[in-house]
Symmetry: C2
Subunit: 330 residues, 2 copies
């Protein structure tokens, strides 16, 4: 260590963190010497001693999806400002990988966890473990209601209502919905929003106008649209549970020689960058992914730092906006 130059091991430690009870001269000198020697404290040892790692673990399906990487950006921004590291694990929507990720995070002594569930997951023991070990856990977006924790979500039901009502307001009367995987609450809520809105407006629900998909890919959007177009009376509006799917829908409608929005209006969900590039530009729900990330990070940090055996699970609902563009502008 650096104490070979002067004397004392703990004085160095204190000086380096500007402890008040250390002489200014001493402090300055230590800092200078540290810089000269290129000395930096070993945070692994510090972590062991303090029993704190300043690490926030994030478990998400895939980092190369716009929604997820935006959320992570938000997490990282808040975390790094507060002096935390962000360590990221991708589950690839696999339950096994998610379990493995949780195991690794547990072993790494992360101070807190932020998770967005994998599609496959329907057993939550690997995450409940964090609660048992008193490690703060915050879910965002794809949350689970089986564990009592803090959550950051958007009002998926309300957003779907907005989207559907918008389609009705521009004159659509035969509105289809392409739904996401019904294992996830968010997709169930969007479907419900769609259904309730039709009911409320006295529009009959037709089973054949609802298409269930595995993962809302463009290809599934394409296939669903094919079926819709072939119907005797095709729909005049389609509400898709995400943007990539809506893009596939629009491309298919155009390929069939029909017009968006004149023949069929389309609404997406997510406000991805692509929604502005497709022609016509896609009307969609902005889900404020970046802010969700920020909120989740703030939440988990607050829990870490309060550490009181604490307030029961709290849910933050992030605002969402319907962004109206050409795909519904008749």
């Amino acid at each position: 260590m650096a104490e070979r130059l002067n004397v004392s091991p703990s004085t160095i430690s204190r000086a380096l963190q500007n402890h008040p009870s250390i002489g200014k001269k001493m402090t300055a000198e230590v800092h200078k010497l540290a810089k000269k020697l290129g000395y930096y404290p070993n945070s692994v040892a510090s972590n062991l001693r303090r029993n704190k790692t300043n690490v926030i673990g994030v478990i998400i399906p895939r980092i190369d999806r716009y929604y997820q990487s935006s959320a992570i950006s938000g997490i990282e921004e808040v975390a790094s400002k507060a002096g935390y590291y962000v360590i990221i694990f991708q589950s690839n929507n696999s339950y096994e990988r998610e379990k493995e990720n949780a195991r690794m995070l547990l072993a790494s002594q992360a101070d807190g966890i932020i998770a967005c569930l994998a599609l496959e997951t329907n057993n939550y023991d690997h995450l409940a473990v964090f609660k048992e070990n008193n490690i703060p856990l915050v879910f965002f977006d794809r949350v689970c209601y089986e564990i009592e924790t803090h959550k950051v979500i958007i009002d998926d039901f309300g957003a779907a209502v907005k989207a559907t009502e918008h389609l009705i307001s521009i004159g659509c009367r035969r509105i289809a919905h392409i739904a996401g995987n019904q294992k996830m609450a968010i997709f169930r809520d969007r479907l419900r929003g769609y259904q309730e809105t039709l009911k409320k407006n006295n529009i009959p629900l037709e089973e054949e106008l609802i298409c269930f998909t595995e993962d809302l890919s463009s290809e599934e959007g394409d296939a669903a649209t094919q079926k819709f177009i072939e119907m005797q009376v095709p729909p005049d509006g389609i509400f898709c549970s995400n943007d990539p799917c809506a893009i596939g829908v629009i491309q298919k409608i155009k390929k069939a020689g029909l017009s968006v929005p004149n023949n069929i209006a389309v609404v997406g969900f997510g406000n991805t960058p692509t929604s502005l590039i497709i022609e016509p530009a896609l009307t969609t729900i902005d889900d404020h992914a970046f802010e969700m990330g920020q909120a989740a990070a703030r939440m988990v940090i607050r829990q870490i730092e309060e550490s009181q055996e604490n307030v029961d699970s709290e849910t933050i609902i992030i605002q969402n906006d319907l962004i109206i563009r050409d795909s519904t502008l008749k």
Copy 2:
């Protein structure tokens, strides 16, 4: 810990890592008990003892750019298979943040570093530190030639040649280039590829056909196109140093009532998802970001595990492809 059930602290340790010199019965029993008690070794302590963290630190400009998140996906895939964690820091293209990130990674005792430089960076001391401390460092994409390390890049010069030659081959004779920030080698190389190709084909280089941008945004593409269109003899082809910029260019050309590719053909760089959605679909260079990430991860892990005071800096060049789409199909 768990030795209160049987006897011995170190036996537990050995059993848990399946040390050969431990009875099979013992080993099995310990594993069973560990599972039952929910015991997991504290890796912070282990890291301290072994002087190894199994962490690979990644410093990149922004995670919410498609190129970067794809590369990270590649890194993560390779790393996690090899038992490494990936810890990500965003520099936001700021030199100060990059310095801070490097400092934190140094303190966290990362076993190896993968970096993609910030735009602002032109002093490299904060990264040279890793070499001094014998921590493997691999650059990818935005590399620096001032430090001798391993690098993963694509042949930007060659890719630009391919792109420019393609424009010439479809009959373009007045080809413009929208160049990226010339602080970065990749953008200088792309410019050079463009220039050399024109020369080789006896096409005069015209200064006014080269537009230098700050960060190749869509907006800058839009503005550059405005100028090009207003010229007495506008260009008949534009090679853009990235896709977002090319998207701005295409949108502007169309807004001006001109046709892509008939009036002006456009080539981008990066093969982002948007290049397939814009109309006409964008001809572009696929830079294989995911594979770059994989290669970088393999490289850094190899160095970590060989640890021999080692082979001098090696450079891997990842293949790139010109993907021809409608924006250049006359």
